[in-house]
């Protein structure tokens, strides 16, 4: 399976440990993720007011590249655009839904992009790698497992952007199971907890660190209380807030016990036993290495 792939900015900078193992495990599952030849930032956060059409330009421009890849035969009849970063997934999806539901908006955006050779026809479907893997079947994942996750209890942290709003969520907004199913296919054990989709504080990490410190501490404490050894996520911003901000949590709460936070792709990589240098453990603030 060949899929057009949108990486997003952060995967090329601070979250290489999400992308590199993801590309490798996808390959082993027979999914070739082909990066768009030109792509631009999706805008990170979606605009939610009715009159901010221009802010949807950036996401839509990326969809033209998918149409072009099909036209050039790089992919065959593949309207899905796969993402790894939860925020990119959410922002691209919301813009795409708006275009698909409002032909007038789409027309205006297309008119604005008159220098582009292609017009966006609304055909692209933004997807996240996780549901693509679920469609392949967990059996396919099980077959690739070389080192089953033993004696590790995993807290599945979805955050917000994979689940909400409902019409872009990859799973049930209040009772998601996809990460639990993945962990179980990798031979691991999950915990049952209530903080798996509680917000970590998001971009407040830039100018209101305290919010993030409080929220992230609450999430990690809950994971620990329910017996977790590690938290997994697919969002580079959640990963930063839950992992790197543990430094700040420890400064404020000296009794706080740290916990590793890894990307789902790293967890898969470890179970698939991919090359150690591709796992990217060194990019995690709290080292997960001893667990695996």
């Amino acid at each position: 399976m060949k899929l057009p792939y949108f990486p997003g900015c952060t995967l090329k900078t601070t979250a290489t440990n999400l992308e590199i193992p993801a590309l490798e495990v996808a390959k082993r599952l027979g999914i070739e993720m082909i990066e768009l030849d030109r792509w631009n930032c999706c805008g990170v956060v979606s605009y939610l007011v009715s009159d901010d059409l221009m802010k949807h330009l950036a996401p839509v421009r990326n969809f033209l590249r998918v149409q072009e890849m099909n036209a050039k035969g790089i992919v065959e009849n593949e309207n899905r655009l796969v993402t790894l970063c939860s925020m990119c997934y959410n922002t691209l999806s919301l813009s795409n839904k708006r275009m698909q539901k409002n032909p007038d908006d789409l027309q205006k955006i297309n008119d604005f992009m008159h220098r582009e050779e292609t017009k966006y026809d609304g055909s692209v479907e933004v997807v996240h790698l996780l549901p693509i893997i679920r469609e392949l079947g967990w059996e396919a994942v099980r077959k690739q497992v070389k080192k089953p996750l033993k004696n590790i209890k995993v807290a599945s942290y979805y955050g917000c952007m994979l689940l909400r709003p409902k019409d872009v969520g990859i799973d049930d907004a209040e009772d998601p199971q996809i990460l639990e199913e993945l962990v179980s296919a990798l031979g691991g054990e999950t915990i049952d907890w209530d903080s798996g989709s509680r917000c970590c504080g998001s971009y407040h990490t830039v100018n209101n660190k305290d919010i993030v410190v409080n929220l992230s501490k609450g999430i990690i404490d809950d994971a620990r209380k329910n017996g977790a050894d590690v938290i997994i996520t697919s969002c580079p911003l959640c990963a930063f807030n839950l992992d790197s901000r543990q430094k700040d949590i420890m400064e404020k709460y000296p009794e706080f016990e740290s916990m590793p936070v890894v990307f789902f792709s790293q967890l898969m990589g470890a179970a698939f036993d991919i090359e150690k240098e591709k796992l990217g453990w060194e990019a995690n603030y709290i080292s997960p290495e001893l667990l695996f």
């Binding site: 009715s50 689940l163 100018n207």
Partner: protein, 134 residues
């Protein structure tokens, strides 16, 4: 001391403006409190989300001075729970936009330390600046 409130046309204009910007029928709000009870940021807010809905409905422009709308990070928890399927996060965004369009920014780039700027992921910085500047 109880506050004395006058209902006037300016208040109605304010409500209409926020309803148009957000696309949400704010008058549908039942004041059940689900949004406030589920909000992960509630401890940081000075005014509860349900109160924001109420005040906008009654046309109380002074809620623009509340910091609640800046705390809301569009996590959509209220969106998926509101029994009337109102999207409170869109209302918060509309209120932020009213302020930002007066060229009042809510973030100061100078205040981010060099050390922080080095470690912060780009999505954090881009996200914050997109939400906090006009």
């Amino acid at each position: 001391m109880a506050k004395l409130i006058k209902l006037d046309d300016k208040g109605v204009e304010f409500l209409d403006k926020i309803m148009e910007l957000s696309g949400e029928t704010i008058t549908l709000c039942d004041q059940c409190g689900t949004c406030s009870g589920g909000c992960p940021f509630i401890a940081e807010m000075d005014v509860n989300p349900s109160q924001i809905m109420r005040q906008v409905m009654i046309g109380q422009k002074n809620i623009m001075e509340s910091k609640t709308m800046w705390i809301c990070a569009s996590c959509f928890t209220c969106t998926v729970r509101c029994p009337r399927e109102l999207d409170v996060s869109k209302v918060a965004e509309a209120l932020r936009q009213v302020k930002l369009r007066e060229a009042i920014d809510f973030i100061d780039i100078e205040k981010i330390s060099e050390e922080e700027a080095r470690i912060l992921p780009s999505i954090a910085i881009v996200g914050a600046f997109r939400k906090f500047t006009g």
